[in-house]
Symmetry: C2
Subunit: 228 residues, 2 copies
């Protein structure tokens, strides 16, 4: 099925049937609404209105609401450089990818997934599988400590909590804070969890790093690093 039905002819290679545009518009509206009000309240009628389309079109393009939802939360991880040989760097990548990229796009599939996972068992299952495969296992593989998987899962849960309360629930003190402040306070904790040894005095049974003085979270703002 080659679809080079170009009326323009000369340049070719620009099919983009009109339906594709509509389909994308519906998908975007769906993600927006799913992330905003959750699965149940994001009715087909509401999504259709948001996309300036008839409700029947939504069904025509996606068959059913569940399929629309499934595609709305399907998502391949954009963080290729999540894990590095150096666990300490992994922490920074992880934190920054999760917290910063989210701020840039609050209607991302990830946001949809997190919000709906609390009330939809299907979304919860997707989240479980996705997080376990894409982050827990990858992070755990680079953690040089016992309970590697638990440490990875724990760090993921903590990031989930911070991101959720900051961007979805909009808890006052957390939502109004500067992202840099949040990262400055949080990063050392995650480092202590999944890169033990690089941080002093936070892990009971670790090799003595013997670096006195610096307390996690109270260090002066070093490494601004926020590439805008």
């Amino acid at each position: 099925m080659t679809e080079d039905r170009t009326k323009t002819g000369a340049t070719g290679a620009e099919p983009e049937r009109k339906g594709e545009r509509t389909r994308r518009r519906i998908m975007e509206a769906a993600r927006r609404k799913f992330a905003e009000v959750g699965y149940e309240r994001a009715t087909i009628r509401v999504i259709a209105a948001e996309a300036h389309v008839d409700k029947a079109s939504v069904i025509q393009y996606f068959g059913t609401k569940q399929e629309l939802f499934r595609e709305a939360v399907s998502w391949h991880v954009p963080i290729e450089e999540l894990t590095t040989p150096d666990p300490a760097r992994t922490v920074d990548n992880y934190l920054r990818a999760m917290l910063s990229s989210w701020a840039a796009d609050p209607d991302s599939p990830m946001a949809v997934l997190l919000r709906t996972s609390m009330t939809s068992e299907e979304a919860a299952e997707l989240l479980r599988r996705h997080v376990t495969k894409e982050t827990v296992e990858r992070v755990a593989a680079n953690v040089d400590a016992p309970d590697a998987r638990l440490r990875a899962a724990l760090s993921g849960a903590m990031m989930f909590g911070i991101a959720t309360q900051r961007y979805l629930l909009r808890m006052p003190d957390l939502a109004e804070a500067d992202l840099d402040d949040v990262l400055r306070l949080a990063a050392p904790l995650f480092r202590a969890l999944i890169a033990p040894g690089s941080e002093p005095g936070s892990e009971p049974r670790t090799e003595p790093g013997a670096e006195p003085g610096s307390e996690p979270g109270t260090e002066p703002r070093s490494d601004p690093g926020t590439g805008s």
Copy 2:
């Protein structure tokens, strides 16, 4: 079991009319269902069936579904000893109250509030107010560091994440782990966040006061004026 057929002829208070029992049964069923499937899916019919009552009775006792929900999530904090003069102890109380008491009662109003807060703006607002007043401010009052409120909010968000993923989302690695292991790994992090300066594992701190190189400029033991 307790058939309490006391009829008060002369003086005295009402003896737990039969309606009270029914009302309580409805409330319990409502909490169970709200926590289990969220606000929308916990229909009045489902709640009524769970309580072995006609759907009309639910309305008769609570007037409306929103009022039923509001009462289901209303809740006064049982943790009186949350905050102590010693921040390090506060961490333990906080963690254990949030994580352990939850395991004991997954259908608590708190669980209902957390689960529904992701899809109900009303629940989200209740959660914001409640958490800010009852935990963030109380914890922050005992944090001896700059960004006290942010630190408190951050720790709350992290606990929210852990509890949610362990008990509500049931993330494999986190749900299957021993609670003691979770606490052992997590506690130092929270201690570093809201009780900076206390060294974990080295010595059971005897008295707060003489710490080398503590925060300059900030008075220790800030005013407890936010109490009551």
